[in-house]
Structure formats: structure tokens, C-alpha cells
């Protein structure tokens, strides 16, 4: 799995808002089928990196290539990348005026031009996969946070993306709902999906990650393809301090 071919190239990417630098010349490559967990203190730039990869934020300088498409000023390139890259947000962001089923089928119908029948069939299969078949005709407000996040994952998967981005998918959840979402993600990781996960769930990262990236102050300060080794004995002093603090909290 770790020797898949490179699918995302990030080269010297910078992004800042006024005096605040979110990404300070980040370069990193992600491979097909790889599960990468991105960790680090808040404000360190890890979410911004995800958001530049599907251009919810425009990078100030540097280059980003996704599946052979360069993210430049051409809107067609951005739309093309977005159809190949699914994103799951911290706050779910389900369309609150639509049923679960409509949430999932909207983009395939509009963007992939699937028929209603095909979109519905795929949506129902995905709902089965995330364990929510019984809720297809409910509205988001009728679901728990964990259920909403599982719908959001199904919605992103319905576009049959090559890459899935997860931006702190369990941070807004009540503790008892974290597991049901991680279960779905673990299942997805086993299926060979390329996944970039910004998370604070260290146990989960340790278990599923092929590679761990540690961010601090807009830079990647440590990278490890051996999560066991990284979590028990990180090299960089700031990674050591960060993990120590998290262990104290836990």
C-alpha cells in the first residue's frame, strides 16, 4: 500500500492571512492508497493544508498537483479536482433542507449526471455501508452528530472520489459517538482509499496511519512512516511536548 504512485504533490506552498502564516512553505507528497494522519497543535496549519488541496482556500504561492491536475487559476481545474477529492468537515455541513438521501444524491446527479435511479441505488448502498439504511428519509436535524457525520462521509463517497480528506471529523462529536465514525473510517482505510486525516484521535492515528505528519507553526516538523515508533518516541522536541501534553489530558 505504501508503494502506490504519488497522487498529490504539494511544493513550497505558502498561505497567510495578514500577519498570520498558516502554511510556511510546505512540501509533501501523498501516494495512492496511503492513509496519512496529520496532527499538531491548533493553528499549526494542518486544516489549511487540507483546504488548499481542494481549493476551499487559495494558496498564495507554491504548486499543488492532484492526480495530474495543477491547481492554478483555471476554475475548470479546481472543479475537476473537487470531483476527485471528497471532504468531510468537523461540523458535518449537511444540507439541512434536504433528506439524507437527497444530501447524498445531489452531487452525483448534478455533477456526474447520473440518473435518479442510479444515484439513489448508490446512495442506499453507501448508507448500508455506514449503517444508516433506516434513516434515508430523515432530515439532518433528526440525526445525532455521529449519524450526521456518517451521512457526510457517505455523501463524499457517493462521488466515488480517489482521495478523501477528513478535517477533524470527530472533534465536534460527543465522546460516545466518536467510535461509530472512526469505525466507518477504519473500514474505509482497509478498503484502500487514499485518506488524509487531520485528527486529535491519537489511538486511531496510531492504528490506521501508514504515515504520520506532525505540523507546527505552518511547517511539517516531523514525518514518520512508523506510527508506533512515532507515538511512543518522537524525535522532534515539539512533537515530544505535544504528545506529552495530550497524554496528560487523556
Amino acid at each position: 500500500m505504501r508503494d502506490g504512485k504519488p497522487i498529490i504533490h504539494v511544493e513550497h506552498v505558502r498561505k497567510s492571512w495578514g500577519a498570520f502564516t498558516a502554511l510556511n512553505g510546505v512540501s509533501v507528497t501523498f501516494k495512492e492508497g496511503e492513509v496519512v494522519c496529520i496532527i499538531g497543535p491548533s493553528g499549526s496549519g494542518k486544516s489549511t493544508l487540507l483546504r488548499t488541496i481542494n481549493q476551499l482556500e487559495k494558496h498564495d504561492s507554491g504548486r499543488i498537483m492532484v492526480d495530474g491536475i495543477e491547481l492554478d487559476n483555471d476554475l475548470k481545474h479546481i472543479d475537476a479536482v473537487r470531483t476527485e477529492v471528497g471532504m468531510v468537515f468537523q461540523s458535518f455541513n449537511l444540507f439541512s433542507h434536504m433528506t439524507v438521501l437527497d444530501n447524498i444524491t445531489l452531487a452525483p446527479r448534478r455533477v456526474r449526471k447520473w440518473s435518479d435511479e442510479k444515484a439513489t441505488q448508490v446512495a442506499l448502498e453507501l448508507l448500508e455501508r455506514v449503517g444508516l439504511s433506516a434513516h434515508a428519509h430523515k432530515y439532518p436535524s433528526q440525526l445525532s452528530g455521529g449519524q450526521q457525520q456518517r451521512v457526510a462521509i457517505a455523501r463524499a463517497l457517493a462521488m466515488q472520489p480517489k482521495i478523501m480528506l477528513f478535517d477533524e471529523p470527530t472533534s465536534a462529536l460527543d465522546p460516545e459517538m466518536v467510535n461509530e465514525v472512526l469505525l466507518v473510517m477504519r473500514d474505509l482505510a482497509r478498503s484502500g482509499m487514499t485518506m488524509l486525516i487531520v485528527t486529535h484521535e491519537m489511538g486511531f492515528a496510531r492504528e490506521v496511519a501508514d504515515r504520520v505528519i506532525f505540523f507546527d507553526h505552518g511547517c511539517i516538523v516531523e514525518e514518520s512512516t512508523d506510527p508506533q515508533q512515532f507515538f511512543s518516541n518522537p524525535n522532534h522536541p515539539r512533537a515530544q511536548a505535544f504528545l506529552k501534553q495530550i497524554k496528560h489530558a487523556a
Partner: protein
């Protein structure tokens, strides 16, 4: 329970439309049974009410379209569009409606003779432009109230900005804007009485004429007030039922 409530709302929706039609169609019958000065003038009241509703409905439709366009203009990335929309709302909200109606009737044909329309359509245009400016603010607020996260989610799924607006933003903005929009429509129904100034024979003009012929202001103005109340009530009932019906999935 929920289904029963929804059915009730559907009933109110249909009922208020039918009710409005029935009021307009059959109003002359009970009025004709009343003593003078109302009875003999029943048809005048009925025709006036019909004209009032026609003015209101046309101006509502155009005002809604103008409101959406101006709201989009105010949010546009292109500065000239923003300036145009801001100018429109600023001028219309900052000047009296009566002045606007007179302007379109008197001043505009003086400048551009081709723009001489009938009194009715002049009133429709002036009322549409007026309510459109108020709708613009309401719709803009509705658009702003749709969570940005949902827009980001739609864009991240590859939906174009047009589909994102059409499928995600507009339906929720309309739902949020509905109570104040309904408010504007009811105000419009009453404001349509200003068309009287340019000689449109709507309900207020009709009552004024009947009063002038009979010299009996009390029964005439009470009658016309009751008719206005009936008309505005059907509007508010319709809007309230629509609001409840569209409230699905609301947090």
C-alpha cells in the same frame, strides 16, 4: 401528528387561495344586500378590490424577481453591480412611494414619451420597484444566514457556484426570508392604495368615490376597512401556512 399538521397547512394554503378568489368573485352579493350607501355601490367595491389584488399580485411577482436580482447585485464580486444595486435600494427606500408613483406617471413620460403606459401598469411598475428594494434587503439577509459550511460542502463535492446557489443557498434563503417577505407583501397590498393618486380605480379610490356621492363617510370607510382586513388576512394565513410547510429539517 406531524402529518396531520402538514395536511392542515396544505388545507390552509389551498383554502386561502380559494378564499381570496371567492371573496373577490362573490363579494358583491352580501354587499348588495346592505342598505344605502353600501348596497347600491356593491359592484364598485367589488371591482375596486379586484384591481387592488391585481396590482398587488403583479407587483409581488415583479418585486420578488427584482428583490432576488438586487440582493445578488449587492453580493456581487463586480463593483459596478454592487453600486447599481446599492443605488437602487438607497433611492427607493429613501423617497416616498407616492412620489415614486407620481414620478413614473408624470415625470418619466415627460422625459421619454415612449414610456407612457396605462395608469394601472404605471402603478404596477412603481409598486414593483418599491417592494423590490425592500425585498432585496430581506433576501440578502436570508442568503447571508445560510451557513457558509454548507456552501463549502457543496463546492467540495464539485457543484458549480450556480448549482450551489440554486440547490443549497436559495431554498434555505427563501425559507428564512419568508416571514419578512410576507410582511412586505401585506404592506404592498395596503400601499397599492396610493395608485389612487394617478387615477387607478382600486379599492380606496372606489370608496372615496362612493363617499363623495353619498356624503356618508362612516359606513363607507368601515366597509372598505373590513374588505382590506379580509384581503390581508388571506395573505397572512397563506404565508403562515407556507412557512410551516417549508420548515422541514429546520434546526
Amino acid at each position: 401528528m406531524i402529518h396531520k399538521l402538514k395536511d392542515r397547512d396544505a388545507l390552509i394554503l389551498v383554502g386561502s387561495v380559494l378564499g381570496l378568489g371567492l371573496i373577490l368573485w362573490l363579494m358583491a352579493l352580501p354587499l348588495a344586500a346592505l342598505p344605502a350607501p353600501i348596497g347600491p355601490a356593491a359592484q364598485q367595491f367589488s371591482d375596486g378590490a379586484l384591481t387592488t389584488i391585481e396590482l398587488t399580485l403583479w407587483a409581488s411577482v415583479f418585486g420578488l424577481i427584482l428583490g432576488v436580482l438586487a440582493a445578488l447585485g449587492k453580493r456581487s464580486h463586480l463593483p459596478p453591480m454592487r453600486w447599481l444595486a446599492d443605488l437602487y435600494v438607497w433611492v427607493v427606500r429613501g423617497t416616498p412611494l407616492l412620489l415614486q408613483i407620481l414620478f413614473f406617471f408624470l415625470a418619466l413620460p415627460a422625459m421619454v414619451p415612449q414610456l407612457r403606459l396605462s395608469e394601472f401598469w404605471t402603478a404596477v411598475i412603481a409598486l414593483s420597484l418599491n417592494v423590490g428594494a425592500y425585498n432585496a434587503e430581506v433576501i440578502r439577509a436570508g442568503i447571508n444566514a445560510v451557513p457558509l459550511g454548507q456552501v463549502e460542502a457543496a463546492r467540495s463535492l464539485g457543484l458549480s457556484s450556480l448549482y450551489t446557489f440554486w440547490d443549497i443557498v436559495l431554498p434555505q434563503a427563501v425559507r428564512i426570508s419568508l416571514p419578512p417577505l410576507a410582511n412586505n407583501m401585506v404592506a404592498l397590498l395596503k400601499d397599492s392604495s396610493l395608485a389612487y393618486a394617478i387615477g387607478v380605480v382600486e379599492l380606496s379610490m372606489a370608496s372615496s368615490r362612493v363617499q363623495a356621492e353619498s356624503f356618508q363617510p362612516v359606513p363607507v370607510f368601515i366597509t372598505v376597512a373590513v374588505i382590506y382586513l379580509l384581503l390581508t388576512t388571506t395573505f397572512t394565513q397563506f404565508a403562515a401556512a407556507l412557512e410551516r410547510k417549508l420548515a422541514v429539517g429546520k434546526r
